[in-house]
């Protein structure tokens, strides 16, 4: 084992001498990683077994035959076609729209001199990034209900937009401020409006940040539960997390299908993460640490 590792180490960094401490470290990290993936393995295996098999075989024994019909069954019973569609529509509208309005606001706050008002507005917006909306579920419900938007896409999308704005403005504001002044000033002197400068210059250069935010926001919108719980009472409007919760309540004794339901709920987010992993991490860190 160790020889393999060290030979690989050698291959990677031939000049470096073997460090026994690094080998121990590697073994520790890999073992912990195994523990970290174990729940996923367990869930996927369970999802592919029959219920009697779950009761009788060990947790990490692979399924005897792949029972993909568990997925079909859970899909049917859990109304996944409905919840998938709702999650998809809400995410598809909310995420790009939120990014556009946040970018516009962040640009104005970062590049247009508004004096004291500008400073105040910035603090006003950033304040929201810190406040957990979980404490305001009841008044949000009252507000949306008062507007007649309970059980509707606009109701939940507007609420999501509001709570997405602060964090996105925070990150984009930091990014826009760091852009050298000369770039925009030349254009402004030529008579271009701020709209043009924003669209022609700032949007294109911020694409990597926007991409990172897009993925972050996709995941958090896709996974959101608390607000959906109070704003979407009608099962026809439920999103995936609500559907999963209700599935657990009703069919918790059908372990195979329950685990299939978990896999189906989690899968899209993991897929997106796998594909865009690079942007994801840089997006997280660019705002929070360097900004």
């Amino acid at each position: 084992m160790t020889s393999i590792i060290s030979s690989l180490e050698d291959a990677e960094a031939p000049a470096k001498r073997r460090d026994p401490l690094l080998i121990v470290l590697w073994i520790v990290l890999v073992s912990v990683a195994l523990i970290w993936v174990a729940p996923f393995v367990f869930i996927v295996f369970t999802a592919l077994k029959t219920n009697p098999e779950i009761m009788s075989t060990s947790a990490f024994a692979p399924p005897e035959t792949m029972r993909f019909e568990n997925f079909a069954g859970a899909w049917e019973r859990g109304n996944f076609s409905t919840t998938f569609r709702n999650s998809f529509i809400i995410t598809l509208i909310k995420v790009p729209l939120g990014l556009v309005i946040s970018a516009m606001a962040a640009y104005a706050l970062a590049r247009i001199d508004l004096g004291r008002i500008g400073k105040f507005l910035l603090v006003f917006v950033l304040f929201g990034a810190m406040i957990p909306f979980q404490v305001m579920l009841a008044p949000i419900f009252t507000l949306v209900n008062g507007l007649g938007l309970i059980n509707s896409y606009p109701g939940v999308i507007l609420a999501y937009l509001a709570f997405g704005v602060p964090y996105q403005v925070f990150i984009l504001h930091g990014f826009f401020r760091a852009v050298p002044k000369e770039i925009s000033e030349a254009a402004l002197i030529d008579g271009a409006s701020h709209f043009t400068v924003f669209r022609r210059i700032f949007l294109p250069i911020s694409l990597p940040v926007l991409a990172a935010l897009l993925i972050l926001d996709f995941v958090s919108t896709w996974n959101e539960f608390g607000m959906a719980l109070v704003l979407l009472q009608d099962p026809k409007m439920w999103t995936l997390p609500l559907g999963l919760m209700s599935f657990q309540g009703q069919f918790s004794r059908d372990y195979a299908q329950l685990n299939s339901a978990i896999v189906m709920t989690v899968f899209p987010a993991i897929l997106v993460y796998m594909i865009f992993q690079r942007y994801f991490v840089s997006g997280l860190t660019s705002g929070a640490v360097k900004g």
């Binding site: 209900n145 007649g148 309970i150 059980n151 009472q233 009608d234 099962p235 026809k236 209700s246 309540g249 009703q250 069919f251 918790s252 004794r253």
Partner: protein
């Protein structure tokens, strides 16, 4: 991309058109809880289809939700303009009464006269309809009794020859089972209301009908009524000795699963459980049922009602649907699916029904009255506290006198 946008626009247009065509039909929206047995779901489906067939242009839509979601949704419906035409709720002041008080229910006296429902439906099930407010609210479609199911094999193994008839005998039975290495009874603790049934039974057994009613209506003082403390003490005993352990970390469906698998000898369940047993075990006749041995003669149970919403667009159509639902013909067709006994007195138990249905029939007929589940008698906040106290006692963290005191303090503080 352009293609995609065009496709999107086209599909949006189509949806709008479909929606417009739809709006011309009459729609009857019905909200209810999601039922677990397939028989019940199928019965609802067939009712929907039959009614639609006999009423062209009417679109019946039955929306089912988990119990807690259903309650919250009704609350929302009461406060907004959206909502169903007909909704299901329980009878009794605690849950059904809540929505009547909120103005969600429509007075149905007119329809009672028009269709003669008083003559058609059984007296115990109707008992609640005029208790809420002026007029008549709701129509019963189901009256459920709850009793104790027992596994005949396991009783035999423990040397028990006959089901218990008094509370002391029940404790003896539990003790015998325990001695034989068999878990006496199973509950699922996470849902709260399941363990509560045991507490309701203990209060009835220890306090008798009158005092129990005084306690649940919060007229009697829990801490100075000794039987309340005694009942909590019994609860603690059951939790420590007789309930299949661990039970606080599982829910009711899991507890049932354990019961089907023969892991416990008894289960405190309603008459609907016969269907679940039939669907989940090899022979339903391996099980029997007996009345809660409380000594009062009252049946433990509750009624479920259909209410017409005060916001229904077409209450006459809703009433017509409910008349159809409770009619002799339909009730005869779906009998057995919502419980042993139909609310319609003209409907007889089917010839081929499981033997346990006859037992249930006997229990219903022999009852001197009813007492309802605690969560339907109490207001919501007291129910939450009742659950907490029961769970504390059942898991051995609270003494009986402290439990009674906690209940009384909470009730006293409501002011």
């Amino acid at each position: 991309m352009a293609k995609f946008v065009r496709a999107l626009a086209l599909s949006t247009a189509l949806t709008c058109l479909a929606g417009a065509a739809y709006a011309q039909d009459q729609r009857l929206t019905i909200w209810t809880i999601s039922y677990q047995a397939e028989k019940q779901v199928n019965a609802l489906k067939s009712i929907e289809e039959t009614f639609e067939a006999s009423h062209p242009g009417v679109d019946v839509e039955i929306v089912m939700r988990g119990t807690d979601e259903h309650k919250t949704s009704l609350r929302v419906a009461a406060g907004s303009n959206t909502g169903p035409d007909i909704y299901m709720s329980w009878a009794g002041l605690g849950l059904g009464g809540e929505y009547v008080k909120a103005g969600l229910s429509r007075d149905m006296s007119k329809y009672y006269d028009q269709y003669g429902w008083e003559e058609r439906l059984s007296a115990p099930s109707l008992a609640f309809n005029s208790a809420f407010a002026e007029g008549k609210h709701g129509i019963p479609f189901r009256f459920s009794g709850e009793g104790i199911y027992y596994n005949k094999d396991l009783f035999e193994k423990a040397g028990i020859t006959a089901p218990p008839t008094t509370y002391d005998e029940l404790v003896e039975v539990a003790e015998k089972l325990k001695q034989a290495g068999i878990a006496p009874i199973t509950f699922g603790g996470t849902v709260n209301w399941h363990v509560m049934r045991l507490m309701d039974m203990l209060l009835e057994a220890k306090c008798g009908a009158e005092t129990h009613d005084a306690l649940t209506s919060m007229e009697a003082d829990w801490s100075s009524t000794p039987c309340a403390t005694e009942a909590f003490a019994e609860m603690k005993k059951w939790g420590e000795n007789y309930i299949l352990s661990p039970f606080m970390g599982i829910d009711e469906p899991q507890s049932n699963q354990l019961y089907y698998a023969g892991r416990a000898a008894m289960a405190l369940q309603g008459d609907w459980f016969v269907n679940q047993l039939a669907e989940n075990t090899s022979d339903v006749n391996d099980f029997g049922v007996f009345k809660l041995p409380t000594g009062t003669g009252r049946l433990y149970g509750f009624a479920e009602y259909w209410y017409i919403s005060s916001k229904a667009d077409n209450p006459d159509l809703a009433a017509e649907f409910l008349d159809f639902f409770t009619s002799d013909e339909l009730q005869d067709q779906i009998k057995g699916s919502f419980g042993a006994l139909s609310v319609n007195t003209n409907v007889q138990v089917a010839e081929d029904a499981p033997a346990m249905y006859r037992d249930w029939l006997a229990l219903f007929e022999g009852a001197t009255g009813t007492f309802v589940n605690g969560d339907q008698a109490f207001p919501l906040d007291v129910t939450t506290e009742y659950f907490r106290v029961i769970n504390e006692v059942a898991s051995g963290n609270m003494e009986a006198d402290a439990a009674a005191a906690a209940m009384q303090t909470f009730i006293g503080n409501r002011g």
